[in-house]
Structures are given as C-alpha cells and as structure tokens.
C-alpha cells in the first residue's frame, strides 16, 4: 500500500502530489475495527459502573443541586451541530468521488470548509470568553484520572478521581479533532487559492511545488484521519451508555443523577440556579 503519491514537475523534479487514497480505506478499516473491538470489549469486559445504591446515596446528600443541570448552552450546541454538518459534508464531498460516486463536489467542499472555519473561529472565541476554557484540555494533571479509568475498565473498584465536565475520552478526542481539523482547515484555506472562488484571485504559484505538495499531503492525511475519528465519534454517540451525553448535546441538560454518577462535583462545580424543566 502506498502512503504518498508523487508526480513530475515541468522541470523534471519529483514532487509530492497527494496522499495515496489507499489511506482512506485504511482509515475506514481502522475506524470500523476499533468500534468492533470496543463493542466486543464492552460486552465481554468487567467494566465497572458506579453502583446504583452509591449514586442513590450521593443524590440524597446533594438535594441542593437542581434536578436538571445545564451541560451545554445554546451557543455550544449550535456550534457542535453546524460543525458536525460541515464536517460530514466535507468528508462526503471529499471521499465519495474517490470511491466512485461522481458529482461536482468542489464548490460544495469549499463552502462546507468555510462553514467549518467560521464555526471553529466562533468556538475559539466562545470557549475562551464564555466557557471554562481549560475544562476540555488534557495535561499531566489528568494522569491520576487516566490510571483510575484504566483500573475501572479492568473491573477494579477505584475511588480515585472522576472526570470534571468532560470525561477523559472526550478530552482526548477533542485534542485529536483540534489537531486534525486545524490542519485540514489551514491547508484547505490555502488550497482555495488554487480553485476559482469569489474570494481569491487564483494564484497557483503562491507556494513552490514542494510546499504545495506538503500542503496537499497534510490536507489529505488530516482528511483520512478524520474519517476514522468521525466513525469513532458517531459510534460513541449512539452507544447506550453514552447516549446521555449525546442527549445533552441536543437538549443541553443532564439530570442530577447523571451528574453525580459520572462526574466529580469538585472538578465540575455547578453554580447555576435550579431549573425544573428542560427548555
């Protein structure tokens, strides 16, 4: 299997052109293999969940918390779903033609790319000034949580740290998607200089052939990586034990019980006034 494709410039130089589209199949395979492996593990493993009585006791002790706790505001939810639509459009317009579904995809692709760019800019501003910016990132402080999560996965009853607002898996996924999406957006914006759009005067010589090659390869690598990541994301979104997270991305709220069962109240402090109903 090739990883990169090469071409020849008018000066006879060998130049990078694209990633090999074999990598698309590799990414698809990796995504599907991961979800099969994970699903099998979840069926067969001794994955430890918090006991119902334990959660009952915590809920009885924390009647000061509102019954419904806001997890995502309207802005965050609109961002998520617009970004998801743009991302799926980008992946479909990029890869359907490669697998044989032919259509005029370029205009749809760059429009979706601009929508994705706009949502990312919005998200950065929103998260920086209106959200707890650091709650989504991972760092050395999360190593104890990582150890505890691994031990729980192997059936141990570990009292160690529970996640704050975002489970460790969410935060690791966010880190991966940030790297892939920023790579694909940054390179994609430059690649738009090579196609006809209302925004730029075409300039195929903005970079040297070799720099363009690196740009296209980076865009392609990030793109095929996103295929596998999106498969994994959708898989977790529809898994029974994760649906409460997905529902919170639709409705904005989780229940007090879900909050106490899955989060560490010391790491995610709920300070908003009580709410009785989901709006």
């Amino acid at each position: 299997m090739d990883i990169l494709t090469w071409g020849r410039s008018p000066w006879g130089q060998q130049i990078l052109t694209h990633v090999s589209w074999d990598l698309l199949w590799a990414s698809l395979f990796a995504g599907v293999a991961f979800l099969i492996a994970h699903a099998s593990y979840m069926v067969l493993s001794a994955h430890r969940k918090r006991k119902a009585e334990e959660t009952d006791a915590m809920e009885a002790a924390r009647t000061d918390l509102p019954p419904l706790i806001r997890r995502h505001g309207v802005g965050a939810r609109v961002f998520h779903w617009v970004m998801a639509t743009a991302m799926l459009t980008l992946l479909l317009t990029a890869f359907l033609p490669i697998v044989g579904v032919q259509f005029a995809w370029v205009t749809w692709h760059w429009i979706a790319g601009l929508v994705l760019t706009a949502t990312i800019v919005f998200h950065i501003i929103h998260a920086t000034f209106w959200l707890d910016f650091w709650s989504i990132w991972v760092g050395p402080k999360d190593i104890p949580e990582l150890k505890a999560e691994i031990l729980r996965e192997f059936g141990h009853d570990v009292p160690g740290p529970k996640p704050g607002k975002y489970p460790l898996g969410n935060r690791l996924y966010h880190l991966g998607i940030v790297l892939a999406a920023l790579s694909v957006v940054a390179t994609g914006l430059f690649m738009m200089v090579r196609v006809r759009t209302p925004f730029y005067t075409r300039n195929p010589y903005l970079f040297s052939d070799s720099t363009w090659g690196v740009t296209y390869v980076t865009h392609g690598l990030a793109g095929v990586t996103l295929v596998g990541m999106v498969i994994a994301h959708v898989y977790f979104a529809i898994r029974p034990e994760k649906r409460w997270i997905t529902k919170s991305m639709i409705f904005g709220f989780i229940t007090r019980r879900q909050y106490l069962e899955h989060h560490d109240p010391d790491r995610w402090v709920v300070s908003e006034p009580p709410r009785e109903k989901v709006i």
Binding site: G7, R8, I15, V106, D209
Partner: protein, 349 residues
C-alpha cells in the same frame, strides 16, 4: 516533457475477435488495459511514454464493432469501430444526417479519417499540451493546472465549466451526435448500458481525470441515432422541417482541431422554431448542450433578433483565460449563425 518518441514501452498486445473476448481482457487487466481503436490518439500517448499500459487491446479485429445498420424507427446504429470515412460515404448519413457527415468530414485529414473511428473520435483524450506532456496536472492526478496560470499558453483552452482543469474536448463528431440525440451503447462487466450522448461526456467537476463516463472495463460498442432528427423536407418524427447546422472554426482549414465548433438540429414550421438541439464544443471539457438557449428560441421566429439574443445568452458565465478571450465572441457568433443560418444574411458580429 516527452523526451523519447517512436519507441513505445513494452506491453502485451491482444487482438480479440469478439466483444466478449475484449471484455474478458478488460476484466483481466482492469486499469492496466488500453483500448486501441484507430490508434491516432493512442500512439501519441504510447510513443511519448506518458501512458504505460500493461496490455493494449486492439479492437480492429472485432467485426461486430464495425459498420452502419438501420436501427429503430428510421434511425441508424453505427459501430464504434466504423471509420470516419465510412460515415462520410454512407448514403443514409448523407441523406438524412448530413450534420454528422459534415462533422466527420471536418476531422483531420483524409488519411486520418480512413483510419480514425467514430468511437475513437468521441472518446479521445484532450489535447491540452501541459497534460499530454506528462506533467502532474490535475487531470493527470496531480494538484495543479499548468494551463490556468498567468504565464500559461492557453489559447485553445476552456471558457466555460472550468473546474480546476481548463482542458477542452477535441471531438468533432461529439457535438453533432448530441444534436442528433444519439445514444451511446456501452458494454460493462454488468451488461449493456445505453446512455444519452450528452451524458457520455463528463466535465472536470465530476471527474477530473476522465473525458467520458467510460471506466476501466467499459467498452463503447456502438452509437445509435434515432430517426427523430432525421432531416427531410417534410419533417420527421414530429411537425416541422428539420435542418442542420455545423461549423468548425480552426486555425487552418485542414488537419486541425476545433477552436470552437457548433452543431444544431432544428425543426421549423415556416419561420418558427419548433424544436432545436444546440451544442458547442471546444469551449469546455465536454461538449455543451445549450439547453437554456434552446428553451429561449423555441417558438420564436428564426431571424436575426432571435439569433442575437441566443448568442448573448450562450456566452453567459464565460470566463476566458489569459489568451483565449477571442473564444467568447467566436462562440456567440457561431451560436447566432446556427440559429439564423448563413444564407442570404449580411454577417454581423
């Protein structure tokens, strides 16, 4: 740039005697197979060592792919390996489909028409020299169009439907076949497929590496021309008298590809245009049927005023490159001439 000519890379040569044998070879070699019709486009690619197929499948020995026979209600079926000269000389083509005769006769030179086939003529690759030089342009799987740069020599390139690539379709018979509402018969591994001629050609937005819908394993076997647009003084397939117009503009009057060509089939009652199919080539990567212009002129009188508005509508959206701006008025005027005709009319542009 091609550095070696006249010495082709080694390949396996197959000369099947039947379509099924050819298909078996196509299945065996897939994308590594090269179909050889008249060889006029193929040998350039092979001698320049730009294309390096593992197997060349010479179709010249397949009798089923040759000849012209009646088809349907007054139509014709032309085998894909029928030569352009055979088409030019065929009495029914001369009598009823003179637009195809004109188009085929305008291709290249007599020697080339003796060898070149209608299947090869509609399926040939673009003449963009940047692409044919073997550089890694979009059409060759790369990430740049060398013809669409400020310094490029792009006098012959596209003014419409450019999508990264600005190559144009070089076929002379293609616009005539689309004007006649022809159907392309394709054999694939899944069986026979019949598609409209205008859908046979694809632009770069849809597939930047192909000029037609043919994929590895597919074979164009014949072209069916319905009787609907057969010319006659009394009309055919519907009301009105069917008239054709074909014109090819090129740098020299023999042995050259079209800068722009136009083909129309028009049914009129008196001076009113009842039905029309209008196609231009040489302006995009596929022959363009001008459906908006057809809609505009249908029901209108065939005169100068109608021709002027048709010509102006035809070029809407044209985006010339550095050196091909002349194609815009050329296309507009050819459409005008196709609508109005050129007999007894003072030529204005």
């Amino acid at each position: 740039m091609a550095v070696i000519r006249d010495v082709m890379p080694a390949f396996e040569l197959f000369q099947p005697a039947s379509v099924s044998d050819a298909q078996a070879l196509l299945k065996r070699y897939g994308g590594e197979a090269w179909l050889l019709a008249g060889g006029l486009d193929s040998f350039d690619w092979l001698k320049d060592r730009i294309k390096r197929p593992a197997a060349v499948i010479d179709l010249s020995g397949i009798a089923d792919l040759k000849g012209i026979k009646p088809w349907g209600d007054g139509g014709l079926e032309i085998g894909a390996m029928t030569t352009l000269t055979e088409i030019v000389r065929h009495p029914v083509v001369r009598e009823r489909y003179s637009i195809l005769l004109e188009a085929a006769e305008s291709a290249a030179s007599p020697q080339i028409r003796n060898q070149g086939t209608v299947g090869g003529n509609v399926t040939q690759d673009t003449r963009c020299w940047y692409y044919r030089a073997g550089w890694s342009c979009y059409r060759a799987g790369g990430n740049i169009c060398y013809a669409d740069t400020p310094q490029a020599i792009n006098r012959e390139h596209a003014i419409l439907e450019a999508d990264r690539c600005v190559a144009v379709n070089p076929s002379d018979t293609a616009p005539a076949l689309i004007a006649l509402d022809a159907q392309m018969v394709i054999r694939t591994g899944a069986g026979e497929q019949v598609i409209a001629a205008e859908d046979y050609f694809v632009g770069p937005g849809t597939d930047i590496t192909r000029m037609t819908v043919l994929k590895p394993g597919s074979l164009l076997t014949s072209i069916r021309i319905p009787g609907t647009w057969a010319a006659s003084a009394e009309g055919s397939g519907g009301a009105g008298r069917v008239q054709f117009y074909f014109e090819k503009i090129r740098d020299r009057n023999v042995w050259d590809f079209a800068l722009v060509s136009v083909a129309s089939a028009m049914a009129t009652t008196g001076t009113t245009i009842d039905r029309i199919r209008l196609v231009v080539n040489g302006v995009a990567a596929r022959p363009l049927r001008l459906a908006a212009v057809e809609d505009l002129v249908r029901g209108k009188p065939r005169n100068e005023a109608t021709a002027v508005i048709a010509g102006n509508l035809a070029i809407e959206g044209a985006q010339p490159l550095t050196f091909n701006g002349y194609k815009v008025p050329l296309m507009r005027n050819l459409v005008k001439r196709a609508i109005r005709g050129v007999e007894d009319v003072d030529w204005t542009s």
